[in-house]
Amino acid sequence: MNEEESVLLARGLRKEYGSGEGLVRAVDAVDLEVARGETLAIMGPSGCGKSTMLHLMGGLDRPSAGELWLNGSRIDRLSERGLAQLRRHEIGFIFQAFHLMDELTAQENVELPALLAGRSPREARRRAFQLLDQVGLGERATHLPSALSGGQRQRVAIARALANEPLLVLADEPTGNLDSAATLEVLRLFEDLHTGGLTLVVVTHDERIAATADRMISMRDGAFVDETRLTGSTSGNLAGLIGLGS
């Protein structure tokens, strides 16, 4: 892969907790490149370090060693302020637990990143409606999260991740809390986004989800142990892939 085409580049990335005999290497000397428009799945069992890897990529945590580049700029040495700017403009997060604000409607949740980025309330609202339409929730924009199903909440979270048109979307077990039908909704949405050129990194322990990506990396004990380039598109076959049979 041409490094110039990379959205994300990691070299010798390491994250350690504790010291001495209690030292834990959550991420151990990882090298990684993510190309623009690529969907990458990182999979492995619980505790293998995949979520930590995702947090490092998104500037939610700092590496103990190594280099991390985003769109040609080194980000592992950024100040807290710089990381906040990064999260605001370049990165979109999707969490397993959705992490929506319970007291805000779907539309208010989606417009929040835009407001934080300094957009006018009107512009933020317009963008929120547009994104909610895109994820199929235009008619539920005024619903509170408590009035939405799990799949719908995750779609709201996806819309929120896209609010500031990020370079990279990071999804941490995005279907972990969803049933099969809702999982299908989310995967179809990811596929649409992928088609639209979005760069997506998905962390999952579910092989069926990983199979929908362009590339799959397996992780064990903090290190990448296997990499598979998935050749065929999953379009039209998602339901069968995740066991819904249609």
């Binding site: 947090h55 403009h89 969490f95 397993q96 992490h99 319970d102 007291e103 407001l115």
Partner: protein
């Protein structure tokens, strides 16, 4: 409880502060200075009745009156102006022989009794004037040495000197009322010579003793000798009031003081303290309730899982409520014991009679009813703050409690809409207030109580300053007023306790807000808000909550002061504005530390723990 030791300690401190103040207030309740007055009276051969005559001829009839067993005097009483070290005050100078009198021989507590050119000064007056034995003072321009300092039971101590008015127990005087209950009986006071001549009430006048020759030497054509003091011992001291009343109404009758009236007058200091401590105890109790409510709310949310476990293993709702109540009641009882002990240790300081008398105040202080009242307050505080959360815990869903499901936040559509137009810190702060209105209300109540106390103290200081400056203009330039000094000391103690409790309270509230906002704060940071913006947002939330309380505290504080002292003037506006702004700044400052600590925790860690 072991895991929540810090919270338990804070809970105990909050309740103990309120109970200690109540203990002190109760210790003063009903206390008079009769035992110290009696001790002083015994040690000074105190008179049963003192008659102030306009001529010595009036004495002959009185000393022969039925029921009079012994007497001393009549002694000439001259007026004068004493000056020392830049201070000056009016004095009554009683002329005495160098030999001890059989009735009313003041007890010299330091130095010696009067001698030519050597005067003796009443002890509280000496304290206010700042003189010691051996100092040189001037009286109407003549120099005298301070031979001694003494106490007496024949006269109310400075600043309550009020010749001839103590015919009975002092009416229930408000703390700042005129010390003389019968103003019309005041002796017109003509002091000094030439340009020094002023007419003043007998309040704030000091008592001194000097030889008869020296006392008469103070008089002049413009300052004639018009008063003589005659001390009477009766065969039955209990008849003193009847003796005085029978003779007080006749034409040209002398003015009388009785030992009962003087004893009551000397209790004014202690009664003043009660007037200060009682509203102080109410304020502290209110603040304690607010503190406990915040703490208990926080403890409850942390105990939610335990409540779930208790219910899951078969605990009934009433058992859950009883367990939670019992735990907090045990802490309240512990706090009551600490409060009682602290109040008991401090009370002697505030019930002491001061420098005017000897001996110690009698203490009906620690009866069973006092203990019951104090324990009752602690229990009421704990119940008031615990009952609702306990019932809520009992009614909560077992599954929700096991999953530690937080109470859903409130949605305030208009506030959310308004916040969209604000900078990030204000947006976040306003939304935090909107999502937990009850906590905001509690925070406002906390601040209202604190500001109420501070404004009441300021109002008192303004009053005291006015009173002192008024006094100095007429009589006692530069002298301090022991009554006001004592009240100010008590107010200072209460203010320190109030502010300490308020600071603790603010910390509880702030911590609770920071902990409650952990998820929102972490999410805001994940979405691109800077740590500083999140910290500022938390500060904005606290200040927004505190603002109405701070403003409301101003009229409440002045109302409290007015109710407590039956009058008074508003402190300068600049003081009030400074109080409101200072309180808000303090609140903001107290929020910064926990807020910053909260933002140090990695976002991913918080989000993971909240999702778990």
């Amino acid at each position: 409880m072991r895991h929540h030791l810090a919270q338990a300690v804070l809970l105990v401190i909050a309740i103990a502060a309120a109970t200690a103040t109540l203990t002190m207030a109760l210790a003063l309740n009903g206390v008079t200075s009769q035992p110290p007055y009696a001790a002083t009276r015994a040690a000074t051969k105190g008179p049963d009745v003192v008659a102030y005559l306009t001529s010595t001829s009036q004495a002959k009839k009185l000393v022969k009156a039925p029921g009079v067993a012994n007497h001393s005097g009549p002694f000439p009483v001259a007026s004068g102006i004493i000056r020392f070290d830049g201070r000056q005050a009016d004095v009554f100078a009683e002329g005495r022989t160098t030999a001890p009198a059989e009735v009313d021989q003041p007890l010299v507590t330091s130095g010696t009794w009067v001698r030519p050119d050597g005067i003796v000064i009443q002890r509280t007056f000496a304290d206010a004037l700042g003189v010691s034995v051996g100092d040189q003072v001037t009286l109407n321009g003549e120099s005298f040495a301070v031979a001694g300092i003494a106490v007496t039971a024949a006269q109310s101590a400075y600043p309550n000197l009020c010749n001839g008015t103590h015919l009975g127990p002092t009416p229930a005087a408000s703390k700042f009322s005129d010390a003389c209950p019968f103003p019309s009986f005041k002796i017109p006071f003509l002091s000094g010579h030439g340009s020094d001549t002023v007419t003043a009430s007998s309040d704030d006048v000091g008592q001194i003793w000097m030889t008869e020759a020296d006392a008469i030497g103070l008089t002049s054509k413009v300052n004639p000798l018009t008063t003589y003091a005659l001390n009477l011992k009766l065969t039955n001291p209990d008849n003193a009031q009847a003796f005085a009343y029978d003779r007080a109404t006749a034409a040209n009758a002398p003015l009388f003081s009785t030992w009962q009236g003087l004893g009551s007058e000397d209790a004014v200091l202690v009664e003043d303290g009660h007037g200060v401590l009682e509203p102080g105890a109410v304020l502290l109790a209110l603040l304690a309730i607010a503190s406990v409510a915040v703490l208990v709310g926080r403890r409850l949310s942390e105990y939610a899982r335990r409540v779930g476990l208790l219910k899951a293993v078969g605990g009934t709702p009433s058992l859950v409520a009883a367990t939670f109540l019992a735990e907090n009641l045990v802490l309240a009882l512990l706090a009551a014991v600490i409060g009682l002990l602290a109040g008991w240790l401090v009370s002697p300081l505030i019930t002491s009679p001061g420098a005017a008398l000897i001996g110690t105040a009698g203490a009906p202080s620690f009866s069973l009813s006092t203990a019951a009242d104090v324990v009752g307050l602690a229990v009421v505080v704990a119940l008031a703050a615990t009952l609702l959360p306990a019932i809520r815990a009992a009614r909560s869903s077992t599954v929700d409690a096991l999953n530690d499901v937080a109470r859903p936040p409130r949605r305030r559509r208009k506030l959310i809409g308004l916040s969209n137009r604000l900078p990030v810190p204000a947006l976040f702060g306003l939304r935090l207030v909107a999502r937990r209105p009850r906590r905001a209300l509690l925070s406002a109540a906390n601040i209202a109580v604190t500001v109420t106390g501070i404004v009441a103290v300021l109002a008192f200081h303004a009053y005291a300053d006015g009173r002192l400056s008024g006094a100095s203009a007429v009589t006692a330039t530069g002298l301090s007023d022991p009554v006001i000094n004592r009240d100010e000391q008590m107010l200072t103690v209460i203010t320190v306790m109030l502010v300490t409790l308020a600071v603790l309270n603010a910390l509880f509230t702030t911590w609770a807000t920071v902990l409650d906002a952990r998820h929102s704060s972490a999410l805001m940071r994940a979405l691109g808000a800077r740590a500083r913006q999140v910290t500022s947002g938390l500060v904005v939330a606290q200040v927004l909550s505190a603002l109405p309380g701070a403003i409301l505290g101003v009229p409440l504080g002045f109302g409290l002061f007015t109710a407590a002292v039956h009058g008074g003037a508003l402190p300068p506006k600049s003081w009030l504005v400074a109080t409101v702004i200072g309180t808000l700044i303090a609140m903001a400052s107290l929020t910064v530390v926990p807020a910053q600590l909260g933002t140090r925790q990695p976002v991913a860690e918080v989000l993971a723990s909240e999702a778990a």
